[in-house]
């Protein structure tokens, strides 16, 4: 076997091995998307009921709460960025990071100081590499987030917003995550979580023309709101974590699918080249034999004379 042909054969072998790996990763990601979607669906009843309850307190009483009152001049804001722990997901992480950077730039243009809170090793690595300050970071659960994880993330954020701005608290909380629109579409979006505008929440709760009854609050509207709002924030963060996980798996699936397709193309091209090389080798051998034979024939013909 010629040197050229051997090189092609070796490359085909290695690309085939890579293709097998990416194919397996594609299938794993596909099954995880379904699982993640199911988790999103399972968390929906809690989220809807909670939204309903928040709307009920918000519209049924004139309670003021630090989590709902807008600071007159907001000077500090927190941005929570949700990324994944692992890459190999196409532009998933860079899109989320880009969205967070745009949001940060916008907030800074408005004269606000921005604290960055980051979930996921990818985002943390990105910020560390650029030596930007991270207020707090979490990682290790982005593939399959549990409610407890959302609680650990929400805790310091709620604490920060309840603190006075002068003491290092924040006035606003924004969240940047990747919304799972469909298997094919995931978009990085940012939304303001706090202060909560109750009107917006009311608009979000599905049945618009439904008139909420006058609730009897137990023990009091303030206490209910006190307990309700942190839970609401937690549940929103939980939902964002779940959507981000589902999006990550969908992005991985897509990236691995194109990697598999590319590997297939590469194998086809390489086999063609290998065939051509083999053919060239054979042609060369034939011409060598023919040339040799005719030279021999010429030589013997000459000696006969």
């Amino acid at each position: 076997m010629g040197a050229q042909l051997r090189v092609y054969k070796r490359r085909i072998k290695s690309v085939t091995a890579t293709k097998k790996i990416t194919k397996a990763m594609e299938m794993i990601a596909a099954s995880r998307v379904v699982k993640a979607q199911r988790k999103v669906a399972a968390s929906t009843p809690y989220a809807t009921e909670l939204t309903r309850a928040v709307t009920a307190v918000g519209t049924g009483s004139n309670t003021q709460h630090p989590l709902t009152t807008e600071a007159e001049t907001a000077t500090r804001a927190a941005v929570l960025l949700l990324t994944s722990d692992r890459g190999l997901a196409g532009a998933f992480n860079s899109n989320a990071i880009k969205a967070a950077e745009q949001l940060t730039a916008r907030l800074e243009a408005e004269g606000k100081e921005v604290d960055s809170y980051i979930v996921g090793r990818r985002g943390v690595a990105h910020y560390n590499f650029r030596e930007r300050k991270i207020a707090k970071q979490w990682s290790g659960f982005t593939d399959q987030p549990e409610y407890a994880d959302a609680k650990t993330v929400a805790g310091p954020l709620i604490e920060a917003i309840e603190k006075d701005t002068a003491e290092g608290g924040v006035d606003e909380l924004h969240i940047v995550y990747t919304e799972f629109v469909s298997m094919m579409t995931q978009t990085a979006i940012d939304s303001r979580l706090l202060p909560l505008s109750l009107e917006e929440v009311a608009e979000e709760s599905a049945k618009k023309d439904e008139i909420l009854p006058l609730y009897d609050f137990e023990p009091s509207a303030e206490d209910v709101l006190d307990a309700l709002l942190p839970r609401y924030v937690e549940s929103r963060i939980y939902n964002a974590l779940l959507q981000s996980a589902a999006s990550k798996h969908a992005a991985t699936r897509r990236a691995m699918k194109s990697a598999t397709d590319n590997a297939g193309d590469l194998i086809n091209n390489l086999s063609r080249l290998a065939n051509a090389a083999r053919q060239a080798e054979i042609t060369q051998e034939i011409s060598e034999i023919v040339g040799g034979a005719s030279a021999l024939a010429d030589a013997t013909a000459g000696s006969d004379k």
Partner: protein
Amino acid sequence: MAAELHVELVAADRSVWSGEATLVVARTTSGDIGVMPGHQPLLGVLESGPVTIRTSDGGTVVAAVHGGFISFADNKLSLLAEIAELSDEIDVQRAERALERAKSEADASAERRADVRLRAVAAR
């Protein structure tokens, strides 16, 4: 047929139980509260504790609920909890072990959680 109310018991990550009931007893921060059909609209904060649901076919469902809310309107009752377990889902031995461990480590919240689980099983 006796009047009924529709109950939804949902935890943060799943729907635990839903069905028709005639009476629901839960523990709010200001004391135990019993809700029967036709109760006035109510929104309360729940303590950790067992929730007893008397179903319309005469059975009883007990669940251990750790923190959450109770809301009632239009004969629909929602129990929202971060963690909720039906009494028949609770592993008694595990809860007992957890209780002992919590006692030895003086972890008050873990002790209360385990205690609530055991009480929910006992009330079954």
